[in-house]
Assembly symmetry: C2
Homo-oligomer: 166 residues x 2
DNA sequence: GCTAGAAATGTGATATTATAACCTTTCATA
DNA sequence: TATGAAAGGTTATAATATCACATTTCTAGC
C-alpha cells in the first residue's frame, strides 16, 4: 500500500468484491470467530461499493435484498467485522466501509473521503506514523488508537463538482 | 504550540478559562458575528474543563446553572463557535471542547484524547502536515478538511489506570 | 426615535445513530 | 447427543442531531 488510490468509476468492481469476501473467511479462521451468514451479508453490502454506508443504510439494503434485520443485529455484525479488521469505521461520518486491502497492523490507516461521491480510499502514508509517534511522545501520551480522516474531492470528482456517486 | 501538553490536574484553570473567554470576543469581531449570551454560556461550560462534552452534557450543565435550552439552540451555538474556531469537535466522541490556544489556520490539529479522564490536548505536530499533504497528492485528492484524533492515556492517568477525572 | 431587514433564538416535532435487557437458536466439541 | 459458548432475535429505549416555522433581538439607515 505505497500510494492510496481511488478506484476508477469503471474499474472491475466484481474483483474487489470477491477479494474482500475471500479474505473474510480466512480472517475469521485466524481471529478465532465464524464468518456467519449475517456477517457475510453485512460485509457483502459494504463491499458492494467503495462508499461508506451508515448502519441503517446497510439495514435498508439488506431489507431490499429480502432480509429483515434489526439495528442491534447489524451493529453486532459490524462490531465483529471491525474486530477482525474486515471493516473500518469512518468516525466523521458515523459510517462503515469494507476493507479492500490488508494492513500493517502496527500502522494507523488514513482515510480519504470524497465529499462528492462518498468513496473512501485508504492510505498507509509513511511519514505519518513517525509524526504521530512524536506527538504522542512529546505529550507523554500512551497511545491506544488513532483516527485519521481527510475529506475533500477524489480525482474523479474534482473535475466535475456537484456530481454524486460514480 | 511546539509541544502538545496535558494540563496538570492542579493547574490554574481559572486562567485558562479567562483566556478562552477573552479570545472569544475578539474572535467574533474578526469573524463578523456576535458573541451572544447563549454562545458565551455554551463556551463557558466547555471552557470550564479540558474535557470533551457532548451537546447534551452542555444542556444539562446549563440547566443545572438555571438556564433551560433546547438541543437545537445548543447545536446552533456550537456550530457558530466551531465556525469562529473557538470550539473543536472531537469526531470519535461526538463531543466538543473549547479551544485553549490560537492555531495556525493552515494546519490541521491533532487531538490527543485521554480515555481515563477525558481530557483533550491539542497538537500542531510538525511532520504531520507534510505527511498528510503527501498522501493527498499521491491520491490526487483535493483536500478540504482533516480529522486527526488519538486516544490513549494522558501522562497524569498513565500511572494510575482506572482513575476518572482529574 | 422609528422601522425594515438580517441575525439569532424559541418552540415543538422528529430524524438518525446506537445500545439495553432478555430470550432463543446454532454450532463445535466432548 | 447433551452441553456450553457464541451468535442472533425481539422489543424497547437511549443518545445524538436536525427540520420547520414563529418570535425576538440587533443593526443600519432614515
Amino acid at each position: 500500500m505505497a500510494k492510496p488510490r481511488f478506484p476508477a468509476p469503471d474499474h472491475d468492481h466484481q474483483a474487489c468484491l470477491s477479494a474482500s469476501l475471500e479474505r473474510a473467511e480466512s480472517a475469521y479462521v485466524e481471529a478465532g470467530g465464524r464468518l456467519t451468514e449475517l456477517r457475510a451479508s453485512v460485509l457483502r453490502e459494504l463491499a458492494a461499493s467503495h462508499q461508506a454506508l451508515g448502519a441503517y443504510d446497510v439495514i435498508q439494503r439488506l431489507s431490499a435484498a429480502g432480509r429483515r434485520v434489526a439495528p442491534i443485529s447489524v451493529y453486532r455484525a459490524l462490531d465483529s467485522l471491525l474486530e477482525v479488521g474486515l471493516v473500518h469505521r469512518i468516525e466523521s461520518r458515523n459510517a462503515f466501509i469494507a476493507c479492500h486491502e490488508a494492513h500493517d497492523e502496527s500502522r494507523p490507516i488514513l482515510f480519504l473521503v470524497c465529499d462528492a461521491c462518498g468513496t473512501v480510499a485508504e492510505s498507509g502514508e509513511e511519514g505519518l506514523n513517525e509524526a504521530l509517534g512524536n506527538a504522542a511522545r512529546n505529550a507523554k501520551f500512551t497511545l491506544d488508537d488513532t483516527v485519521l480522516e481527510m475529506t475533500g474531492l477524489c480525482e474523479h470528482c474534482a473535475g466535475r463538482e456537484g456530481t454524486r456517486g460514480h
